[in-house]
């Protein structure tokens, strides 16, 4: 078996582990195996851009190759570090961002490590002390989080060394170690708390939403970061205030401030003291509570409580209205449940949905002059509602995502069941997409733009919704077809660049025609009629796909 450089570094700390009664040899072996397994896993940050098919997936540490993303984020931190000597403000901001990234990465990518219950079943029956198993788990996380911290904070730290000198560098290093400990202990303690009150399924849901949030944050991060440079010019004077006791990053900003600029404010000393004591205390309680944690972890294996059956007359009749044919209704309902419950699907699609909501709003703000309420209202006037079309950009991606599932093997049921025609399968799933996924996005945007633009834009809003359906149908026709939820997520392809370009062009066309139609009397209504007709005709035709046409 191959050896890893990080393990060689770890070897230097051998006596330390032995002192704590850890069987170092065994721990090293467990870690070695864990690293091998990690090389075969894809972290969240990369999963969005992962276009490799399974066969091509080479064995490399995806975690390590995802570090450059963090280096990139680290570069964005540099301006905050070099801009002045107001360390209290600057560094609080920097440490805040670092903590945010560490915390989210910890939850999204290291949860699997922290919550791995296979360990219990595989390792507990072996002649290994629990202490050694827990130590392996802890060291595993520390090694990765250290690499991540180095990637994230490394550039800033080096620039800081040149700009502010050696003291800054050393304090920074100490702070990062403390922050890392705090993040690990805090995450574990939060999990302990959740596991105490909820079952494992709830925890997995919470983790899933954090992952979705992280992906979304990274997607819009570029937008925000670029804008944030404008805010940077504002010189914020951070005055000591009692609430700062509860804001972890400020502790470390204070530490930097005290170390470099000095000061004799006893309140600041209190904050700095907290910054040192709290992480140590957190780690201490983590170590103490680990046995309890491991015991509660067993809950993950137990099945969640049965959900309450949500069924009402209104719901049923709405369902019948949306989908009158019973066979189609079955697939509509099934797709809806998959959208809600399948975590891997959610991880892939929900960030796009979030983006669909934010994109039109970001563009609305981009067209504003200044940052005032009047400016927002001004921007919302005229044809601002056309911004909603930006939410279409995500439609092709989501439509093609409908074919994928983490549990794609369950798709044998399509072949086993007597499904004579695939029409209800596709039309039911498409309806579920429109109603359960697109409609909430559209609804939110429609309300916002209606509030800004007034009732006069109602016909336009309806037209946009019909066009969204039309766009989805066209995407369905153009994109490769496969039975819903039948392909493994690893083989995900965004489609060829040409297809995507064509679809982007199509969206542009929708906007252009809509824009043009507003200059013709009743133009919007004519366009609306044409779109409705097109949807009706397409809906009849396109779902008649034969079995041999699907993959």
């Amino acid at each position: 078996m191959r050896d890893f450089p990080s393990l060689k570094v770890l070897d230097r700390f051998q006596p330390l582990f032995r002192r704590f009664g850890v069987d170092y040899e065994v721990m090293r072996k467990i870690l070695q195996v864990k690293f091998i397994m990690d090389r075969r896993r894809v972290p969240t940050v990369l999963s969005q851009s992962n276009n490799e098919t399974k066969k091509e997936m080479k064995e490399k540490n995806h975690f390590l190759s995802s570090l450059w993303v963090y280096v990139l984020f680290g570069l964005f931190l540099i301006p905050f570090i070099i801009m002045g000597d107001n360390f209290l403000f600057q560094m609080s901001l920097v440490y805040g961002l670092i903590m945010f990234f560490l915390m989210t990465a910890m939850i999204s990518d290291f949860s699997t490590v922290l919550l791995d219950i296979r360990d219990n079943n595989i390792l507990y029956p072996k002649p290994i002390e629990r202490k050694t198993i827990s130590a392996a788990k802890f060291v595993h996380i520390v090694i990765y989080l250290s690499l991540l911290t180095a990637a994230l904070a490394g550039p800033g730290l080096i620039v800081g060394l040149l700009r502010h000198g050696i003291v800054f560098f050393l304090v920074g290093l100490l702070n990062l170690i403390l922050i890392e400990l705090l993040v690990i202990a805090l995450t574990a303690l939060i999990y302990m708390l959740i596991l105490k009150f909820f079952d494992g399924e709830k925890l997995k849901d919470i983790i899933n939403y954090v992952q979705i949030g992280l992906t979304l944050t990274i997607m819009i991060g570029y937008q925000i970061l670029i804008r944030s440079f404008e805010i940077v010019d504002l010189f914020v004077q951070l005055e000591p205030a009692w609430w700062q006791i509860f804001v972890f990053p400020i502790w470390y900003g204070v530490m930097t401030e005290l170390a470099i600029n000095g000061g004799a404010n006893s309140f600041l000393f209190l904050l700095a003291g907290l910054g040192i004591i709290v992480p140590l205390l957190a780690i201490w309680s983590y170590v103490k509570l680990t046995p309890t944690f491991e015991r509660n972890l067993q809950k993950l294996a137990h099945h969640g409580k049965a959900r309450k059956e949500k069924r009402s007359k209104i719901r049923d009749s709405l369902l019948k209205f949306i989908s009158p044919a019973s066979e189609e209704r079955a697939f509509y309902r099934f797709a809806g449940i998959m959208f809600r419950n399948e975590r891997e699907f959610k991880l892939r699609v929900y960030p796009s949905l979030g983006f669909s909501v934010l994109f039109p709003i970001i563009f609305l703000f981009t067209n504003m002059d200044g940052y005032s309420w009047e400016a927002i209202l001004d921007a919302g006037k005229g044809k601002a509602y056309l911004n909603i079309y930006f939410s279409f950009i995500m439609i092709p991606g989501i439509i093609s995502s409908l074919q994928y599932s983490g549990k794609y093997k369950g798709a044998w049921i399509y072949k086993a069941a007597p499904i004579t025609s695939l029409k209800p399968v596709f039309s039911g799933t498409m309806k579920a997409f429109i109603v359960n996924l697109y409609l909430p996005v559209y609804g939110l945007l429609a309300v916002i733009f209606l509030a800004l633009g007034g009732v006069r834009i109602i016909p336009d809003l309806i037209l946009i919704f019909i066009n969204a359906i039309l766009c989805s149908l066209i995407c369905f026709v153009i994109l490769e077809k496969a039975v819903p939820f039948s392909r493994p997520i690893g083989t995900y392809k965004q489609g060829s660049a040409i297809t995507i370009f064509m679809l982007m062009f199509l969206i542009g066309l929708f906007v252009a025609v809509h824009f043009a139609s507003t200059f013709i009397p009743y133009g919007v209504y004519i366009y609306l009629a044409v779109s409705v007709l097109a949807v009706m005709i397409m809906w009849r035709k396109i779902f008649n796909v034969s079995w041999d046409k699907v993959q």
Partner: protein, 259 residues
Amino acid sequence: MKDIVVEIEDLRKSFGSKKVLQGVSFKVHRGEIIGYIGPNGAGKSTTVKIMLGIEGNYEGTVKIFGRDISSGDVEYKRKIGYVPEVADVYDSLTGQEYLTFIGELYGLSYDLADYKAKRMMELFGIGEVYRSRIASYSKGMRQKLVIISSLIHNPELLFFDEPISGLDANSVMVFKEIMARLAKDGKTIFYSSHIMEVVEKISSRIILLHNGTIAADGTFSELQMHNKEGSLEEIFNQLTGFNEHADIAEQFVTIVGEE
């Protein structure tokens, strides 16, 4: 009494308010094959998990190889092999990586573990996937791998929980023969299964657990004597007080036919 391998006395365990084990006591001698049976939820897996140190917080004493396992010394596990009912495996590893890792955890050298694992895989007819990822294995291959991982360190005491699930008839024959020979060599085997025919044939002694207590303990012929004549399956039904199978089946089939 060097021959006593396992000694359990008044073992009790509850999960919350649910009492899973309510005073279980038995002794197991070297070379015995214990058919450890009982209805779902009777507490079989829990007993085994306690003996393996996966579950803690129990009352009563559990001695294995003459030592109380609650002392915290894990050395006794070196001589135990375990095939769980649902076997978690690090399946992104290859068979070779996994088995050598497990071997090393039990203190074997890498080369010895590698050699033994490879030979055993070959004998089980799955030598060609030794260097493939476990994730790509079929159910039977996986089960064979788990069996090998339980035996690679030459244990004295074995816990098999549904070990033959997923194996084809030929492999089952090989495995039964392996068990018989292991017992002859003085290994002790705990065999849990729901397939009564197999338990009946291979066990030298049967322990039946019901509602957290021992409902029967003895050789198959002893069990037959105490109860009305019949197969182990019938004895099982009788001892667990289950006699409405015909009624349930009838109702079930009626529902199947409902339009």
